[in-house]
Structures are given as structure tokens and as C-alpha cells.
Symmetry: none
Subunit: 164 residues, 2 copies
DNA sequence: AATGCTATATATAATAA
DNA sequence: TTTATTATATATAGCAT
């Protein structure tokens, strides 16, 4: 994004790739930090590369915990109680929309769970096994369990939009 | 980053905050995507806010899997092939015990997950058998099972990191 | 290999529609 | 309220160190 525009594809030269990686990773982390502070939202990211010996995990484990709490408490969407004044055509359209939304919700939940498992793996792989870490690990696993239970409960209810 | 520089702090006005959030979230996801493609690294991020009803989770399941694979292959210690004095011998014993501990921890994790999967499957079979909800649930659980298998593989081939 | 330095490419804050 | 348009602020690609 400077002297010349770069095409979106793997950078062939390994040295150049590593340089770009280091610069962009730094930029990305800065942006994450800004987003978190400016907008009061929770953000969590992992960057795994063979340039760094350890994956970058951002922000701290403690903050990641807060993030998980928020995910746990994600509210189920209010039902749309709109009156039905049209015929079968409209009903079908509504039904289809609801199905799409449900599918999206399931997908999101799968992703949430994957992220959590990912987090567990990262912790157990990367942190050495001091007792504190083990304890934190257990808390994380408990969160996974809660979310799985939540999936079970909400499988029959509907939820809302996603951005993409 | 435009008409004026903004100070790094919570944006007071909620409307402005939301606008900034949406824009920056989009920018961030774009950067994540670019970093992943340009540098061939695995990236995983999520953003939880009360502007969006659902937490933003990035990237796809497929890429999250790749991420897990990479974490699995996190470099293990260099093996010292030199002479083995008493200290080295003891270090190895300690290391072995740590490995055993870790393996046990992974095993416990696996067992807990398996137990949950079984429970979910059982209840999923009992309820809502008329809809394809059960089918969706099974797809979800298949993911869990795959992850568990990966964990299992990791546990059986893991070694403890040497750098502390 | 890592860091410093610009010229450009992008991101985005303020504004308009 | 969201979306489009800019004027600026930032990020960063290519080099030099």
C-alpha cells in the first residue's frame, strides 16, 4: 500500500513476505487496539505463522475471558410477532427467511465453538503447564460446555441477521 | 484518520461510535483477509459488540481448521543429541513427566467433550425428530468429533516446550 | 535479518444526501 | 438511519542502512 499497489496473492519472495508480515501484523494489532478502545467492544485475535515461533494471541488471556463471557451471554433474538395479513405466499417467504436465519445462527454457533476449542488448544500448546494455567484451562472448557448446552437449547429458536 | 485525527479513547456519542465501529470492523476484516493471503498465515478473530446482534467471527470454518492444524504443529523443542550427563538425564525425566501430564490433560479434555457429544446426540434424537433440526445438530456435532480426534492425535504425539 | 525512510495506497472522520 | 463522497490521517511497499 505504498510505493506500489500489491496484488492480493501470496508474496513469492520469502524475505519480502516476512517483512510484510511483520509490518502488517503490527498494523493489525494496532487497529484491534484502537477498535476496542474507541468503540468499547471486545476483540480477540490469533495469528499463527511460521515466521513467529509462537502464534500471536491478542489481547491477553484475561481479556479473552471477558470476551468469552460476552459470547456466552449473547441474547437470543426477539421473536418477530408481526401480524399476518397476507396469504400463503407471504407466509412461505417468512418461513424461508427464518430458515435462512436459523442456518446462519447454527453456523455462527459452530464458529464460536471452534474458536473456543481453538483457544483451548492454543493455551494447552503454548502456555506451559503451571497450575494457574491449568485452572484457566478448566474455566475455558466450562465455557465450551455452556455454549454447547446453549446450542442445544436454541436450536429450535430463531435469531437474527449477520453482516455477510 | 480522516478529516481530523481522533484521540484514542471511548467515542462519547453513541451514533458516531456505532458508525466508527462499522467502518473499522469492515476495515479490520479486510486487513485480516489480506494478511492471510499475502503472507500465507492463519488468522482467526472475533469481535463482540452490542451494535451487532451476533459476534463477528472470522474467517471460515475451513480456515479455522487450518489454524488448529497449525497450532497442533507448534514447534517442539530441539532435541539435544549430545552426551547425556546427570543433569540432562534428570531434565529428560522431568520433561517426560510433563508430557505425561499434558497427555492426561488432553485425554481429560477429550473425555469431557465426548461425554457432551453423547449427551447432545441423545437429546437431539429424543426431541424435534420431525424436523431436520436433528440433522443440523449432527453436522455440528460432527465438527466437534473431528476436533476431538485432532486433539487426540495431538495428545499422542505431543512434547513439552523447552523454552520458558 | 531488522530498522528507518518516503512516496503512494488505503482507511476513515466529517459531511452530504 | 444508512449510504456516498471527499479531505486527511495512517499504513505500508520498495529501498537504503
Amino acid at each position: 500500500m505504498a510505493r506500489s499497489a500489491v496484488k492480493l496473492g501470496l508474496i513469492a519472495d520469502k524475505t519480502a513476505r516476512k517483512t510484510t508480515f511483520r509490518k502488517r501484523k503490527a498494523g493489525l494489532l494496532k487497529k484491534l487496539n484502537e477498535l476496542q478502545i474507541l468503540c468499547a467492544v471486545d476483540v480477540c485475535a490469533f495469528i499463527s505463522s511460521n515466521f513467529d515461533s509462537k502464534p500471536e494471541i491478542w489481547p491477553s488471556v484475561r481479556d479473552a475471558r471477558g470476551m468469552i463471557d460476552r459470547l456466552k451471554n449473547t441474547p437470543t433474538m426477539k421473536r418477530n410477532t408481526g401480524e399476518i395479513d397476507q396469504e400463503t405466499y407471504l407466509k412461505r417467504r417468512v418461513k424461508k427467511l427464518e430458515e435462512d436465519l436459523k442456518r446462519q445462527k447454527m453456523k455462527n454457533q459452530r464458529l464460536r465453538m471452534l474458536s473456543l476449542v481453538n483457544k483451548c488448544l492454543a493455551e494447552s500448546d503454548l502456555e506451559n503447564s503451571s497450575s494457574n494455567r491449568a485452572e484457566e484451562m478448566k474455566v475455558l472448557l466450562d465455557d465450551v460446555i455452556l455454549i454447547i448446552k446453549e446450542i442445544e437449547k436454541t436450536a429450535s429458536s430463531c435469531s437474527v441477521r449477520s453482516d455477510f
